[in-house]
């Protein structure tokens, strides 16, 4: 396919859509508030996008194998609570607890695969378990983030604001791991045609457990980043991440089934959703409308994607 053809192909537009929507919202913000167009402004705008982007990537690992994680929000909250208590006071216990979380996620993946249970039911159940643990650990908001996490999230590299740098690194690392390596192919293959993977002699059980464990790893990164930014934690700190992360994956060009995902898109999607909220506050619209506005963005982008798909079908 030559250059021109590629730029008019539906595949190109599907990939470009998340980047275009982020640019669009960003331009809107800059137009309303030109002062945001600075190192400090961008830092402020995208600070809270980093944990959301990490949670979105976590969700994407599960969506890649045709499952859905409804517990990611409460899991991130639990991790934030662990971060603000055990990890601060008794680091060894904290690290052991986090490793235990990864093992629990892998076991959840194994259970879902072996018993052929619907992932929505299992993860919804687990979300109450995570929330319960978080409340036991930190009954009232409080605790404090370990200093090294504080230092890490408030680090100010020259020229490029930290959140932007983090988002770029995150997108590139996950893109490489999942889209370019030979193991990433197997992981995505499970979402595309589980039977084909089995017939080629691979263990889908191991692959699914790996994907769930990766979800936990990125969930932990999200929780720790969040507690670093917020300095203290609360058992309900990240509950809204569940829906935000799903929306982010879909906004970024992923599909619920079929292993069609895009790590770069997912990060862009998460940033778009965060930015939409800021956009509304610049417009002096009450925060009550934020969720509705995020929904509107989602609908607009999905409608555009439907048009792109139709364009492809007509070919």
């Amino acid at each position: 396919m030559n250059g021109l053809q590629f730029f008019t192909s539906a595949r190109f537009w599907r990939g470009a859509l998340p980047a275009l929507s982020l640019t669009f919202v960003l331009l809107g913000v800059f137009w309303l508030q030109p002062r945001a167009m600075s190192y400090f402004g961008l830092n402020l705008l995208f600070n809270l996008a980093v944990p959301i982007a990490l949670a979105t990537i976590a969700q994407m690992f599960v969506i890649a194998v045709n499952d859905l994680d409804l517990s990611i929000g409460s899991f991130v909250s639990l991790v934030a609570c662990i971060g603000a208590t055990w990890l601060h006071d008794t680091p060894l216990l904290g690290i052991a607890a986090l490793l235990g979380c990864v093992a629990a996620y892998a076991a959840m993946g194994a259970l879902i695969y072996i018993r052929q249970l619907p992932s929505i039911v299992v993860t919804l159940g687990m979300s109450f378990v995570w929330s319960g643990c978080a409340v036991l650990l930190l009954p009232t908001p409080g605790g404090s983030a370990p200093d090294w996490i504080r230092a890490l999230v408030t680090f100010k590299p020259p020229y490029i604001p930290m959140p932007i740098l983090a988002a770029v690194v995150l997108a590139l690392v996950v893109h490489f791991a999942l889209m370019r390596t030979s193991w990433g192919v197997l992981m995505r293959g499970v979402g595309g045609n589980e039977r084909a993977i089995t017939r080629a002699g691979w263990s889908v059980l191991k692959l699914k457990m790996t994907m769930y464990a990766m979800t936990a790893v990125f969930g932990i990164l999200a929780g720790l980043t969040l507690v670093g930014l917020a300095t203290s934690a609360d058992a309900n700190i990240a509950l809204r991440y569940t829906l935000l992360s799903i929306a982010g994956v879909i906004l970024g060009g992923g599909e619920f089934v079929g292993g069609r995902i895009s790590p770069v898109g997912a990060v862009l999607g998460a940033m778009t959703l965060t930015l939409t909220a800021s956009f509304l506050s610049f417009l002096r619209i009450s925060p009550d409308w934020q969720i509705g506005a995020q929904g509107a963005v989602l609908i607009i982008v999905l409608a555009l994607r439907a048009i792109v798909n139709r364009m492809e079908a007509r070919r």
């Binding site: 396919m1 030979s182 995505r188 979402g191 595309g192 084909a196 002699g201 079929g258 292993g259 069609r260």
Partner: protein, 493 residues
């Protein structure tokens, strides 16, 4: 050529397989020698696919002995073992991941394709093989499988099975490999099978197209009811002997088309449709009681034309009669069966309007309808409440026919419905189609098999989305058809 003194590459003895209460295989014995092409034929549900799944390691035999190059392999024989022994299988339903590219799908069956520059190596491997089997295939290694047509997907899967990395290739099992390929590409594959068997690789070819089997096989095994009923040199068989050995209920080849005189006197015109982009004045017409064929190479717009008619384009008021057209899908897993439902519900879904009273569906009426069609079309199932997935592929297809014929529609659209269906089932369905047509139903039938066009009163040959030729009555011959299939339609953009 092989002799009996050479020990076989693979030998199966007394293989049994039981699924719940169903005995799928009851004591199968087979021998495959190196460099031999074994043709395997039999009706749907005869156990061919089950046997090949056991050989490929995806199913475990309940009992029996499997020996590969002198080594006895008992329990625990797995897909990895099969891979290490150089046994590959192209399964009847495609085993590619639609979200991955051609090169990435190649990586899935080759554990050694990893590390630095694996993508380049995978791409080179599959492209080289595609070029060898299907010259002029027009597939790129970065193409996503889901974006390719079904015949190209099948080409990729076949080529992938023949790629070699570290273990050499002992046996390739091809289960209905040509079901979605047009004649030209299918011939490329058959030529390649002859070439590769000459170099020492064995091939098992399963096909319902007996011509293919007779053309390339060295030996032919006929299966029936989970047993091998005949296993001889291919030269000892011809078409009629094969059909006889398979135990078909009806011999093919009886002139099934209605004679020209009565063709004049059929009912009102029901469809008059002009494909978009048709450069000349040919139009698709269908009258009551006619069987119309859509032919040509695979994927030249036949399915699209059927869908257009299904949406109501070109259907005249007389054809409507208050009902919509009904559609028999060819890709039954995707467009046909409702996999969680019973046979009864799968049949009743197209006739719900007639089966309800008030807002509710009358179960006993649906039951009556399903029972009637089960008997009439010969669905082999204990009862209509059985889940549809408990049936073999051919019987599932019969359920789809029952769904369409049981509805009140006057027009029945069929999208290559006999893909991978055995001759016995086909002949039974053909008879019912003729009978239903004589009662005034109109059939539009897209098919890739020449024999099926013998049942059609008129055939429209498709090329690049438009009709390239209309053939009527005795003009419907293989030669005319091939000519029309490759004809460039003048003025087509």
């Amino acid at each position: 050529m092989t002799t009996e003194t050479v020990s076989p590459l693979i030998s199966l003895a007394g293989i049994q397989k039981v699924f719940g209460a169903v005995q799928a295989l009851s004591g199968v014995g087979l021998e495959i020698h190196a460099g031999e092409c074994l043709g395997l034929v039999g009706h749907n549900g005869a156990g061919k696919s089950t046997l090949m799944n056991i050989l490929a390691g995806t199913l475990e035999a309940s009992d029996g002995a499997l020996t590969v190059s002198g080594k006895s392999l008992g329990k625990g024989y797995s897909v990895q073992d099969a891979g290490n022994l150089g046994i590959r299988c192209v399964f009847q339903e495609l085993s590619l991941c639609p979200n991955l590219s051609v090169a990435e799908n190649t990586r899935i069956i080759h554990p050694v394709l990893k590390g630095f520059a694996w993508r380049k190596r995978a791409a080179a491997l599959i492209m080289d093989q595609l070029e060898r089997i299907f010259p002029g295939h027009g597939i790129s290694p970065v193409d996503i499988i889901g974006d390719l047509s079904i015949s190209k997907r099948q080409m990729v899967e076949i080529a992938r099975a023949f790629t070699v990395t570290e273990t050499n290739l002992g046996l390739v099992i091809l289960d209905e490999p040509t079901s979605s390929l047009d004649a030209r590409v299918a011939n490329q594959l058959l030529d390649y099978i002859e070439k590769i068997t000459a170099s020492g690789t064995s091939v098992v070819l399963i096909s319902h197209l007996l011509g293919e089997i007779l053309q390339v096989s060295d030996k032919i095994a006929v299966m029936k009811d989970g047993r091998v009923v005949a296993f001889r040199e291919a030269s000892e068989f011809d078409r009629s002997r094969l059909v006889e050995a398979m135990g078909s209920t009806l011999a093919a080849g009886v002139a099934p088309r209605r004679d020209v005189q009565s063709a004049q006197a059929i009912g009102d015109e029901r469809i008059h449709m002009r494909p978009s982009g048709q450069p000349d004045d040919q139009t698709i017409r269908a009258q009551a009681g006619e069987v119309i064929g859509f032919a040509g190479l695979a994927g030249q717009g036949q399915t699209e034309a059927l869908l257009e008619i299904f949406e109501g384009h070109g259907v005249l008021p007389s054809g409507r009669g208050g009902n919509d057209c009904c559609f028999v899908a060819g890709d039954r897993q995707v467009d046909g069966v409702l996999p969680l439902w019973s046979i009864r519900k799968n049949i009743g879904i197209a006739s719900l309007r007639r089966l309800r009273s008030g807002a509710l569906i009358r179960n006993e009426r649906e039951q009556e309808l399903a029972e009637a069609w089960k008997d009439r079309i010969g669905i082999r199932a204990p009862n209509v409440e059985a889940p549809i997935l408990s049936l073999s592929g051919g019987n599932q297809q019969k359920v789809l026919f029952a769904r369409a014929l049981g509805s009140a529609s006057n027009i029945v659209l069929m999208d290559d419905p006999m893909r991978g269906v055995d001759i016995g089932t086909k002949n039974e369905v053909y008879a019912i189609i003729r009978q239903e047509a004589s009662q005034g139903r109109t059939f539009l039938w897209y098919t890739t098999e020449m024999e099926e066009l013998d049942y059609c009163d008129r055939v429209y040959v498709f090329r690049d989305g438009v009709v390239s030729e209309t053939l009527v009555g005795s003009d419907i011959t293989e030669e005319n058809l091939l000519q029309a299939s490759f004809k460039q339609v003048s003025g087509a953009a």
